[in-house]
Symmetry: C2
Subunit: 528 residues, 2 copies
């Protein structure tokens, strides 16, 4: 996919056309809850009553159909892989214990697991609402090469935007029909103007629906049902959304909550991370997690699932009680989404161990060689920076600015904001990181996404230019953990659960809409 | 219905309960498009990208079930009545021509009709999206009297809030299930607290769904289909929403537009009133209304229906071209919702002529005496202030502060803001209105609504206290006007179309959420 194919996409707009499209987007988005609470930098809103359109692209972005279908198609394999890693304490433990020496956050998570393990886990079910993130890679060294799907990272905790991305796909379908007129067919001119013709490769199957809300909520519902009857008889059962406070991305979460209620009759409560110890208690014997809503403190509600939309970042654990709170939740009989072990399975080091060239580990978790090969095909080369043979080789690559140009240096953290790119890697490692901490980083070959053009609507203003997209595929996986040393547990539910496309300016090196860099997008599938 | 029955409704809230409920309301409303653009007094938003929760009550308000069902049940009779008035040019003309002598706005509307009549109307179909507004009346003079349904006014143009009121009913059902817990039945304690029990008269049928969005959009769709094929061959057909600009209540309108598109495949465009002459033209011969979108000025779209959400107030006609623009639309072959005659049928004077004690006019339009009697039963006494016998009697009532206490004085205007109440009537008439203009006013017996308590959430703040509610019932009516002097036309579609409950503080004398006084509400039906 070379950019020239899409040089006429999206259409150039006259000021009147742009005004019309912006009004279409901003009104539709608010009418359909595709919204965020505005940034304090934009407007002061002490009562928290204002909302604004989530940053979105004006048009859906072209995405290779084959790569999109492959990303969706292998999500169940990825679910199986990471569920397998979370169930393989011995294998995961080796990686984690080495990291724990130099990474206090990972050490604390591991200690939390060990403490609960000593006492015995009170719940053998685990739920993962995962998201595997990819970019399209173009091998510039090989002329006419096909675009390839390459994984950026795999998220095992607090995977966000599944609540809004269903709406973004619907928004772009609305834009399409708005622009084309109700009686027009798909090759009709945009804005009825011959100059703005959609690329002829786009047809009516090019705008796939996105079932992320319904499937993620169905995953929570399946786990809630598997929880069974209340362990403390006659209590109301509910799901607990563990959240940050304040949370600008609250509507993303609320859409899942409303779906859970309207489609499955399951109630959810929201608990800010800092109130865990204030508002919850464990029942004696069963360790059922009892939630006491602040608005009804004498009431106890038994929690079936703790759905983490908070607690994933070290910065959330500054209060001395924070780790006590995490331990408290992990000890409970509630199903954790995710468990501490599943959280740990998402560290970058695991991704690197799987993806380092010649790695033998994938087949341990994916027994079907064909499946393992498909997953392997989405790996870009990732190297450790430790004292292993591969690690020493990678150190050489990183310390030479010429070879470092092709890489990104990543710590073990979730989310963007901490990555070091290209020629900045050499001085960063040399001057900022003590050598004994190098092993907490991974060195990842850069993905070369094709250049596309699009426009992003953010706070009512339009930014246009060269953009790159990152595709996230959601997955739902519910499994039973092995009891003691016996067996390896079993997977009870394993499904692909819709997608997210985030698009950002090409010059930006970081992703994450909440951080203010990216925008939400949807795919328009194109053949190659 | 005495207020004491509901003295424990709504429940008193602790600060924590109120915080929980406000978060529930503000998040749900934005996630479901129950929103308005914020007032400039609240926040500066030059790009028009912010939204906030429409003012709503925390709880649905108790409403007598019998009165609610009667209001819905007689809506088709009201549709028939006002459609009949609009088709009876001779009868309506007598009233209007008298008013026209002292009311320039009405004179201009009538002139517009006469001008088009001289040329012959190009469209014989008319659409009404009506709203009949009521209050509950308690006759304090009669002990233990039943609550009665009394009409406040009948709106024939720009009846608003049908797009949001469906959502308010859904919001209050959500609040109910949120407060009661998913496994609770309807008599379970609010907030799980014995002190906050719902009145036992409330059962699961007490929260009716509100189909206003779907039925109003279905009315527009039926008219669009009746329009038939394009008169200018091969043009795209669409509905035109004539709007104010800026419009804070835009989402109310957009919900109808989206429903029209998603359920009926019918496209709608929005045209600000001041751009009528810029962006539309009449086709020669057929007078088809051709719309040229500013974003595609070389394109012509043939308009099937002009849906007026603007153009109802004299203040919109300050520009010299405004009446030319209204005439231009009325001349067109588009179906007007409403036509000028239908607009004129909504003047207060018509309501007064029908409702003056002893009036013989109702039977002219409602031939079935039983139906006429039901409609009659919703009239409160309304008097003219002209030189007729009834008018001279009313002048006496109005000029004596003691008798004036039981009345409200209304001009011919749509919407609140112009009414004079009780003892203010006497000095107002005497000192501010020349006697020759008195006949443009009507004198209406005050309705005595029962006192209820509720809380209104407005811009994140809560106002609690004694409130009164106003029930609006929407109606859809599509009819064919008589050709020349022959016949009386025929009604093609006649339906009740959901409801609106607006609630305001009892001390306030004016309604209208957009004006900042009222709030949106929904009914919880109670037996008497």
């Amino acid at each position: 996919m070379t950019s020239s194919i899409y040089s006429d996409y999206p259409p150039q707009l006259t000021p009147e056309q742009q005004k019309c499209l912006v009004a279409t987007l901003t009104d539709w988005s608010i009418a359909h809850g595709l919204a965020v609470r505005p940034s304090p930098a934009l407007v002061s809103d002490p009562l928290g009553v204002l909302a604004t359109t989530a940053p979105v692209t004006l048009f859906p972005s072209p995405f290779p159909k084959r790569c999109f279908e492959e990303a969706l198609g292998i999500q169940t394999a990825y679910n199986e892989l990471y569920s397998g890693i979370a169930r393989d304490e011995e294998w995961l433990g080796k990686i984690v214990e080495e990291l724990a020496e130099v990474d206090d956050f990972i050490a604390k998570l591991w200690d939390t697991h060990l403490a609960v393990k000593r006492e015995c886990y009170a719940q053998d079910l685990s739920l993962g609402l995962f998201r595997s993130d990819y970019m399209i890679h173009i091998d510039h060294a090989t002329p006419n090469s096909n675009p390839e799907l390459k994984q950026v990272e795999f998220n095992t905790i607090a995977s966000s935007f599944g609540g809004l991305s269903t709406q973004v796909s619907a928004l772009h379908r609305h834009v399409k029909s708005t622009l084309q007129g109700s009686h027009a067919n798909f090759t009709r001119y945009l804005f009825h103007n011959p100059a703005y013709r959609l690329p002829p490769i786009i047809n009516q199957h090019s705008f796939p629906q996105n079932p992320s809300i319904s499937r993620l909520a169905a995953g929570l519902a399946a786990a809630a049902i598997s929880y069974g009857s209340p362990k403390s008889s006659s209590l109301e059962l509910a799901v607990l959304f563990l959240v940050q406070d304040p949370e600008r991305n609250v509507f993303d979460q609320r859409h899942l909550e409303y779906q859970l209620e309207s489609e499955h009759g399951i109630r959810a409560y929201r608990l800010p991370f800092h109130r865990i110890l204030t508002d919850t208690a464990l029942a004696p014997e069963t360790r059922a997690l009892l939630y006491h809503p602040p608005e009804a403190p004498s009431t106890a509600i038994e929690i079936t699932i703790i759905y983490f939309r908070a607690g994933y970042a070290p910065s959330e654990y500054t209060h001395p009680d924070a780790w006590l709170a995490r331990l408290h939740l992990e000890r409970s009989a509630a199903i954790k989404c995710p468990s501490v072990l599943t959280h740990l399975a998402g560290v970058k080091k695991v991704q690197q161990v799987l993806a380092t060239p010649g790695s033998p580990h994938l087949s341990r978790f994916l027994r079907d060689p064909a499946v393992a090969q498909r997953v392997q095909g989405t790996f870009t080369n990732i190297y450790p920076l430790d004292e292993s043979e591969a690690g020493l080789g990678a150190q050489k690559l990183a310390l030479d600015p010429e070879t470092a140009k092709g890489f990104v240096l990543k710590p073990q953290r979730e989310g963007g904001g901490n990555n070091i790119y290209r020629t900045a890697i050499t001085p960063y490692l040399r001057d900022k990181v003590p050598k004994e901490r190098w092993k907490s980083y991974i060195l990842m070959e850069l993905i070369n996404p094709p250049s596309l053009n699009n426009s992003i609507l953010r706070n009512g203003k339009i930014e246009s230019g060269s953009v790159i997209g990152e595709l996230g595929v959601f997955g739902v996986c519910l499994w039973r953990n092995p009891k003691g040393k016996d067996g390896s547990g079993e997977i009870l539910k394993n499904e692909e659960a819709g997608y997210l496309l985030r698009t950002k300016g090409r010059e930006s090196e970081e992703g994450g809409v909440a951080a203010g860099f990216g925008s939400m997008d949807s795919v328009v599938l194109v053949d190659m």
